[in-house]
Symmetry: D2
Subunit: 284 residues, 4 copies
């Protein structure tokens, strides 16, 4: 038996669900989960399903081939698919603030995140100790006027060499090079420490304090060329009062950031996130 | 064109989704919304869909007939269906506390609730003024040792005479007669002013105060013979502190009750609630 | 016996609490509630207290006089004070969307809001019916190029004639004239249908939909000359998903707006809101 | 200069605040934070303050002595006090589930928790690895019919020998011996994985699943002889749906438990929690 996850996007038309589910039925598959969404305004159809097949009847590759030639062709479907048994490779980028790094590695070690983490990259050597504690490889890439270019080259090489599937920016305060953004489109998960679109850019907790808001937030989104403007995956908020100092906002925000980022990462791993017109469809 | 909503429950089996969606496709229907859920432990399948048909091709009745003889028979489906254009009839029962009554009638008048409200029943004559303000019929049914039997008889007669589809207990502090509970199974929506199963029964805000909880809640559920133990439709909570008196808990709770009850009512109207083993599947 | 509420603002100095509480003790007062806050960065002190005095010993006026000459002078206190038994006069301005109006009037009639409402002003004549239902005076002030000036004059005259203490803009979509803003500084409570500073201006739910946020909000703030930039009193949020249309955001937002606005109004009535550097200190 | 925290409980009487603040003013102290609460029903007064004194004028001991003889005597105050510069000693008890342990140790190492952690006790040897990673001493105390008595004796000895100030039960699934509960009254912080009083006892997530609740919670409370019935310090909740399995409830609950427990621990450390009639007053 093998278990697969399929995510589908195509123009909305009568009969897609019927076609896809009948196709799987004919291939003797058992649908375990299925979700659809239709964006009526844009006439776009989205579907995610998990199905189980008997590998004595046909292989994963032959299913992929048949589905491509069948429903995909008929309905102009663009799709992603994966064999659930194969672990995805996730790289972590981090700067000075290490609470999200601790959180992700704790979840990784306890088996909560179903991935491999081949390495951590940081522009701060202090993160090496944490990588060592959790026995994950570490690369130090300094980002200054002299080293920027070589560091970025090294980063890209590492990502390619290790066949990284997606990146997590666990409070990485450097700009990601355009080459990496292009190569990993909708595969770079960032955590921004505000309730976007409020307070983009640097020092959002300071801005929130200055404005006197009564609720602060955190936003996980895919990184795009435009700063803090990519498709939002997950947001969380928590109440604050006039009595909270900036430091207390930072401290309260840390717990938010950890949870929002880890939820976004889990949804990405399970292929529950589909991107469309700089927005996300989340099946969960 | 006509628009219908269908809710399905049956034992889980391979091919149900394929069968149902293909059937609708063959009937030239257009599926607007579709949701499924499989309870793997109990091998139970649930589906809700909204679909549009051309009444020049076949009538609502002929679709119902064909679906009954086709998928329903094949998969032992128990189902509910309705023509979306037909408004359901909702009766409101209320006692002394009138905030939920005000809230429901406000939403009704503004068109937010897509129902007819043929009448309001109360054991408190004070509610008549509110019914008058909103121009809804009102019946006063006193519940004491002498009048109980005749009142309950009158209630049931009113429900039958007006072809009521479902009842809302908008803080009705009397026991609903068993005959009505039996006749309106999973069609009596109650609001209980606590986070069930904590604090069932009378005076839950007093109990919450006494226990010193830091969060209070409200629960909307279908009424069953066992008090406050029916299938939960919706719950809401809000934070409180040591400084809140019982009266302040009551006041904060009112806003919760209004929102939780009106959400439950909306989900019921749209046939988004399915009951199974004293629990609900909510498609929204 | 008489009950008063006092709100104090002054530069922070050692001994203020001691001075104020000892003063009240010497006047044979009983402090029922007391809250303080010190903004350390700006060295500003805030205090709110409710105290009970024996009117056989001295009058409200004589207390006010003594407190002015005593603690106020010594610590350069700027303060507000009120006799709790005197109801404040609140005017409501509303445009087309009437859910907040319904909500406020419902709370008013049930005794939840301890105010008088001398009148409602709207640029939409439709609101008259609601005012009539709840038996509140109504004035229709059209706002176009011909009537703007006379309408604004009339509004100011009404506010002065009825000795209005504060205004509530219950979704009033017109600009408040500068003269009124100046005269009612920190006394005009607005509800904005977004989580400010995100999505200021018109059509915030459309912008939220466009941006694909996963949480929407509402913000109550004091009106200032700069649009949607005044001191924030209260904010609330609720989760949304990709599947919510703009209309559904609007609908979910209505419940938020009602609760956020009514909480802000209650805090204002009880003099729990103090404004400082375009931010609020909220004692509750 | 030295900084102290004082928590006060006494029968409510006119003039307490005035007396205490004037006393501190006369001792040339500077009040940094002050909070009060009066339980009117029970006529009980609560106050917490942080104040700064000049150690050239008098020592901490002499202040304590003077305050005991002064305000404490006059108003029958029972109080707690501490020198903020002295770190409290916190012991952690844990069983099999290690997410709260990881979380607390991460916060400890990053400096977020201002305590010393002399040791961790577990009935599961697996926790030793985690203790080693974070370089904290570890004791293994097996709890079976043969070892129970000696283990409990050893636990008490360790607590006394290391002068432990308070205990955290970070998902410790064993009963705490009465002797320890008595000695550490209101000093044993437990995390229960449900929204108490709903689902006390074992397997609350299973019970929540069975009942079909739409919100799950976590509760941190002081341990008392009666199971899961001690004074509640903090509660948190999160939404769930019919589609969540028991395992998913457990997984969602872990994040709740971590945050609820760590907030309770922080409030305890800062002496912000006062216990009264099996309830807590929380000043924050």
């Amino acid at each position: 038996m093998y278990l697969i996850t399929v995510s589908i996007q195509c123009p909305d038309k009568k009969g897609i669900i019927s076609e896809v589910t009948s196709f799987i039925y004919k291939m003797k598959g058992n649908i375990l989960y299925i979700d659809q969404y239709v964006d009526r305004e844009n006439k776009a159809f989205f579907m995610r399903l998990e199905a189980e097949f008997d590998d004595k009847l046909h292989s994963y590759d032959s299913f992929i081939d048949a589905f491509s030639k069948g429903p995909c062709k008929k309905f102009k479907i663009s799709w992603k698919h994966r064999l659930n048994s194969v672990k995805q490779k996730m790289a972590i980028f981090v700067s000075k603030h290490d609470h999200c790094l601790y959180d992700l590695l704790g979840r990784y070690k306890s088996g909560e995140l179903d991935v491999e983490i081949p390495f951590i990259i940081s522009n701060h050597i202090e993160a090496k100790k944490i990588a060592d504690t959790f026995k994950v490889d570490f690369y130090h890439t300094t980002i200054d006027s002299h080293t920027k270019e070589s560091s970025e080259k090294k980063q890209l090489e590492l990502l390619i060499k290790h066949k990284i599937d997606f990146l997590v920016l666990a409070r990485y305060m450097q700009i990601i090079p355009e080459k990496i953004i292009e190569k990993f489109k909708n595969k770079i998960i960032n955590i921004h420490h505000s309730f976007l679109p409020a307070f983009p850019g640097a020092k959002p907790y300071h801005s929130a304090f200055e404005r006197g808001v009564k609720i602060i937030g955190a936003t996980s989104h895919y990184d795009t060329k435009e700063l803090d403007a990519g498709p939002i995956i997950e947001q969380g908020v928590t109440q604050v009062t006039h009595s909270h100092s900036v430091d207390e906002l930072v401290s309260k925000g840390k717990d938010l950031e950890k949870i929002v980022l880890s939820n976004a990462v889990k949804n990405h791993i399970q292929q529950k996130v589909m991107v469309y017109k700089n927005k996300t469809v989340i099946f969960n």
